[in-house]
């Protein structure tokens, strides 16, 4: 198959033992060094890994505690402006804000509304787009009415599941904003205590949950998308 000419059957067995994980420490370290240096061996490592990988199907997933991700991000992005280290490029978000504003304002027919009648408090937009599923939800928060309008552009919950919307403010635990209604566009009125936590650096997140929402009050399923609130 991908055997290099310089590779003996003995070497191939050693790679299989390495991938399986049975070798003692010293032999593992020695082989790891050879893998770095010898492409033929490295090709065999990938062969064995791909072949054995299906055996891992029997390991039941276990959700790790939240502090692990926080620790990883702190180590990888120590200088992030934002503790959650989520910002991509600022220019991107500026452009996205401008575009969303146009779409949202047009969508809500606000063009006809007098500027003077708009509420004074900060309002926000956010665009929740899942990377691993065809899910996109545009969110508009109107500070005056404390109403969060959700417009589900594409995607939806899996069969027998619900989508749940969360607010992540600073380092606090996620706060549930409720289950995403089945209708493609819907409104949720926020309690004033929750509305007070909306801030330009807060994040919205959508997670996959059992019907009716998370039984624990915290996300229990996969977080499908997160997006920062963008002040309008």
């Amino acid at each position: 198959m991908t055997d290099g000419t310089d590779m003996t059957p003995e070497d191939d067995l050693l790679v299989a033992e390495y991938v399986l994980g049975v070798l003692p420490h010293e032999e593992r370290v020695a082989l790891a060094a050879r893998l770095e240096a010898e492409p033929a061996l490295e090709a065999r490592r990938r062969f064995w890994e791909d072949e054995f990988a299906p055996l891992g199907a029997e390991v039941e997933p276990v959700r790790p505690p939240a502090h692990v991700l926080a620790a990883v991000e702190k180590r990888l992005f120590p200088h992030a402006v934002q503790p959650r280290g989520l910002w991509g490029s600022l220019a991107f978000w500026r452009a996205a804000t401008a575009l969303l504003l146009v779409l949202v304002v047009a969508g809500l027919g606000l063009f006809s509304t007098q500027r003077a009648n708009l509420p004074v408090g900060p309002s926000y937009v956010a665009s929740l787009t899942a990377s691993a599923a065809p899910l996109q939800i545009e969110v508009l928060y109107d500070a005056g009415s404390r109403v969060l309008k959700l417009n589900r552009v594409s995607g939806g919950p899996a069969q027998g599941r619900d989508l749940q919307l969360w607010l992540i403010a600073g380092n606090e635990a996620p706060i549930s904003l409720g289950v995403v209604p089945a209708a493609t566009s819907a409104s949720l009125e926020l309690a004033s205590a929750i509305a007070a936590k909306l801030a330009p650096k807060a994040l919205l997140a959508v997670s996959d949950e059992p019907l009716g929402g998370s039984p624990t009050g915290q996300p229990t399923g996969a977080v499908l998308a997160t997006a920062p609130l963008i002040a309008m």
């Binding site: 198959m1 059957p9 191939d12 067995l13 299989a16 033992e17 991938v19 399986l20 994980g21 049975v22 070798l23 003692p24 420490h25 593992r28 990938r46 890994e49 791909d50 072949e51 054995f52 990988a53 299906p54 055996l55 891992g56 199907a57 029997e58 390991v59 039941e60 997933p61 276990v62 959700r63 790790p64 505690p65 502090h67 692990v68 991700l69 620790a71 990883v72 991000e73 180590r75 990888l76 992005f77 992030a80 280290g85 989520l86 910002w87 991509g88 899942a130 990377s131 691993a132 599923a133 996969a222 977080v223 499908l224 998308a225 997160t226």
Partner: protein, 178 residues
């Protein structure tokens, strides 16, 4: 969703932190379980998981050139790290008989159906080995057992275990490459 995971890993390779977070939320339960299975202690598995995702971040730029499936690429990072971590310790810090009970994970019927399609080739090939030898291969892969641990588990001398496991690997290679 293999294609989606590939795309995510490639975005992580370009330094996309949001993609990293999404990748983490999608894959960490599996990789944590892999670490937990090998290391057996939660705090140890949590530390290992941190290191695994640091490696994922740094390794992602090279992912595309490996041509590997994203699942096996990620699983290999987690398994290799967990196994290196446990092997680097004093040998057999936890004797097999003292190891905490690992829950019985006999697949339920629904999962078994799902699993069958995915793992037919390796299963076919394992089924051609003697049952005990196939079990040893699975135990090594899933629980991260060393030769020493396998020897204890199967109550055989170390060298005997190594000899018959290597023989099993030769048979597997022949079968897998057909």
């Amino acid at each position: 969703m293999p294609e989606d995971l590939s795309t995510l890993i490639q975005r992580v390779g370009l330094g996309d932190r949001q993609a990293f977070r999404t990748l983490y939320s999608l894959t960490s339960p599996k990789l944590y379980a892999v670490c937990l299975r090998v290391l057996r202690e939660r705090s140890d598995a949590e530390d290992a998981l941190q290191e695994v995702y640091i490696k994922v971040w740094h390794g992602a730029p090279r992912f595309a050139v490996t041509g590997q499936s994203p699942v096996s690429w990620l699983a290999a990072i987690a398994r290799n790290h967990a196994i290196d971590r446990i092997r680097a310790r004093k040998p057999l810090a936890v004797a097999i008989s003292d190891a905490p009970e690992i829950p019985d994970d006999g697949p339920d019927p629904e999962r078994a159906v799902l699993a069958t399609a995915e793992r037919r080739r390796i299963d076919d090939c394992l089924s051609r080995l003697k049952a005990e030898r196939a079990d040893a291969v699975r135990a090594a892969y899933v629980d991260g057992h060393s030769y020493q641990e396998l020897a204890e588990r199967f109550r055989l001398p170390l060298n005997t275990v190594r000899t018959w496991l290597r023989r099993s690997l030769l048979q597997l290679r022949e079968c897998l490459q057909q």
